[in-house]
């Protein structure tokens, strides 16, 4: 999947799952999701991980959890892309 499409989908997912009052287009690729104007909180991170797993058929490993992973759209997309590639290689 093209990077831009993946990022776009993740932005839509974030707006939906976190009930953000902004449009997906307003989320920058490198903005810190835990700062203004997104203010993602801890309970959001759990929901985000669950919905990413359901959407992409991946599994978050507990050992992978880090602030860096959830920092931005770029970091989340990189993780998802990596998981998809790993699972494709394994199959």
């Amino acid at each position: 999947m093209a990077d831009e499409q993946l990022k776009s989908e993740i932005k839509e997912l974030l707006v939906e799952v976190c009930f953000l009052d902004i449009s997906p287009d307003e989320i920058t690729d490198d903005g810190n999701l835990m700062d203004d104007p997104y203010n993602i909180e801890s309970f959001n991170l759990l929901e985000i991980s669950v919905h990413l797993e359901e959407k992409y058929g991946i599994s978050f490993a507990e050992e992978d959890l880090s602030l860096d992973l959830f920092q931005s759209i770029n970091s989340i997309a990189a993780y998802v892309k990596g998981k998809l590639a790993a699972e494709q290689a394994a199959s």
Binding site: S42, F43, E62
Partner: protein, 276 residues
Amino acid sequence: MEFRSSDAVLRGMLHMPAGDGDRRAAVVICPPFAEEKKCAQRVLVHAARALAQAGFVVLRFDLSGTGESTGDPAAGCPSRWREDIERAIEFVWQATDAHRLGLLGLRLGGTLAAEAATGLQPEWLVLWEPVVNGRRYLQLNVRRSLIKKMLTQGEQFDAKQAAGKQRDGHEDMDFDGHFVSARCQDEISSVDMLGSADAAAQNVFLLGIGPRDTLSREQGGLVEAYDAAGAKVTGAAVREPPFWSLVGLVRGDAAIRETLAWLNAEGGPGDAKPDP
């Protein structure tokens, strides 16, 4: 009010309908567990009041070893909590004029309500985002706990060490201050609502609560399982933040409104709107 369940004293609140309603229909609210219960408390109180306004006698109570109820937290587990639900219903029969029964369960409380329904055969079984797969529920509770540690410890957080600690030689678990024994984990792990759906309850209402107004695939599968078992089941979903997972001023109005509408359609005592 309080009543006994085995060696514990269970405490809670009995909401009586206002006015001159016949008070013959009761709903027992089966709460979620641990952090989810803490977060959902306000909504469950709101739901109880709304149901009472609609003409139901409503019992909210804390499961043994939780909240205001006594009992050893280490002894808490689904089989014990199912007994608590049975004692709660006996209390309602003894303390009120009610003889029609509804169970409303949120999350693990929904799972417990569904299991208890097999023996109790309630007229209404309302399942708010029930835990369908126990293993997955435990996994996500571990993840929730790790995320909290991650946010608290910041740069000092070591995911591998923290995750390993959860699994390695620690049979009992700590869900952010809520003790979960190895036995409790085993019982929760064996939860599989898709395999245990039955037609014990006369009317079943499965309500998905989350970012979408459609049921998840898993929830859709649960509706089908109940249907295949011969139950009269309705599935619905409301777009509402998962109030059992967040701390904030959430009222659960959409979930309450849908539930009241369904109860009214299925022969409940009346209808009412959530508190303004």
